[in-house]
């Protein structure tokens, strides 16, 4: 299957599942008794956060492959995957960083509090923003790309600490999933549909961005070849 066909299939599937998830969130899942309608932010907020961690995790693995691979072909593929997943992760992180404070303003009375999970999430988000800034600054310079790959690997422990932050250091962040929340079946349906929707959206955007980056690499190679031939 061609990569562009894969992207079209993923994007179409993502559009359908997003519509289904929004329907389940707003028309099927009951409104939570304590928080009211603002609890509906939770579905896409958590789904974005989970997919952000997944995207940053893949970016870190791509960084490791970039640094360890001997073959130039694999280094280029890993580099393109790293950029694609970092951009998708930063996009999902931006969603998390915007929707979380909007929920918190109603639930806690403040947009932000420096509790462990929020602080760590912000740090990891900024780390990958730095990765993208470094990648953009480095251009085709291999040393700059290697430093960026190293930076992505540094994000891995951060992802683990975000996961365990509430158990280890406490804080005000709710633990709906691990504390066995979402007792209503319609809420669970809406939640899993939201995760699937954001997973498909992220996968589709990663494939799109990966294809663009691969084309960019091919174009850069062609320019170099043309420069060599016609000087």
């Amino acid at each position: 299957m061609k990569s562009t066909s894969l992207h079209i299939i993923l994007a179409s599937l993502a559009a359908v599942v997003v519509c289904v998830a929004l329907y389940l969130v707003f028309f099927v899942a009951p409104t939570e008794a304590t928080l009211g309608i603002v609890q509906k932010i939770f579905y896409f907020h958590v789904a974005s956060a989970m997919n952000m961690s997944l995207a940053f995790g893949v970016c870190a693995i791509a960084g490791a492959v970039y640094l360890l691979a001997k073959s130039n072909k694999w280094r280029k593929r890993a580099d393109a995957l790293g950029v694609a997943t970092a951009e998708a992760g930063v996009m999902l992180g931006a969603m998390v960083m915007v929707t979380g404070p909007l929920w918190a303003k109603v639930a806690w009375g403040t947009y932000w509090t420096w509790e462990p999970r929020l602080t760590l999430s912000l740090m990891v988000f900024l780390l990958f923003v730095a990765y993208l800034a470094l990648r953009a600054y480095a251009g085709s310079d291999a040393f700059g790309r290697s430093i960026a790959a190293g930076l992505a690997i540094l994000g891995l422990p951060g992802l683990y600490f975000i996961r365990v932050a509430v158990e280890r250091w406490g804080g005000a962040h709710p633990q709906v999933i691990y504390k066995g929340g979402l007792s209503h079946p319609a809420m669970r349906q809406a939640f899993f549909a939201s995760i699937a929707a954001m997973l498909l959206v992220s996968a589709s955007l990663v494939v799109l961005r990966f294809l663009i980056e691969r084309r960019r690499q091919t174009l850069d190679e062609l320019f170099l070849e043309a420069d060599k031939i016609f000087g």
Binding site: I37, K40, T99, L102, V106
Partner: protein, 66 residues
């Protein structure tokens, strides 16, 4: 729920979902701008190659059309 902030839960929910769509839209529009940039650069490359081949006496018409 009105919440302790004075903002209604409905306002915050609408803002949150609007923000998600805006962020998604920005990403997609940026990706398509990048794609059109690559196409433009590819056309420039083809022009450079055509000029180069013409000055070296090659057949520039053999280059693929975009």
């Amino acid at each position: 729920m009105e919440g302790v902030s004075g903002f209604s839960g409905l306002t915050m929910t609408v803002l949150a979902y609007a923000a998600i769509w805006v962020i998604l839209l920005v990403f997609v529009v940026r990706a398509f701008f990048m794609l059109s940039g690559i196409r433009r650069e590819l056309d420039e490359l083809k022009e450079t190659l055509a000029e180069g081949m013409a000055s070296h006496g090659s057949d520039a018409e053999k280059l693929p059309k975009s």
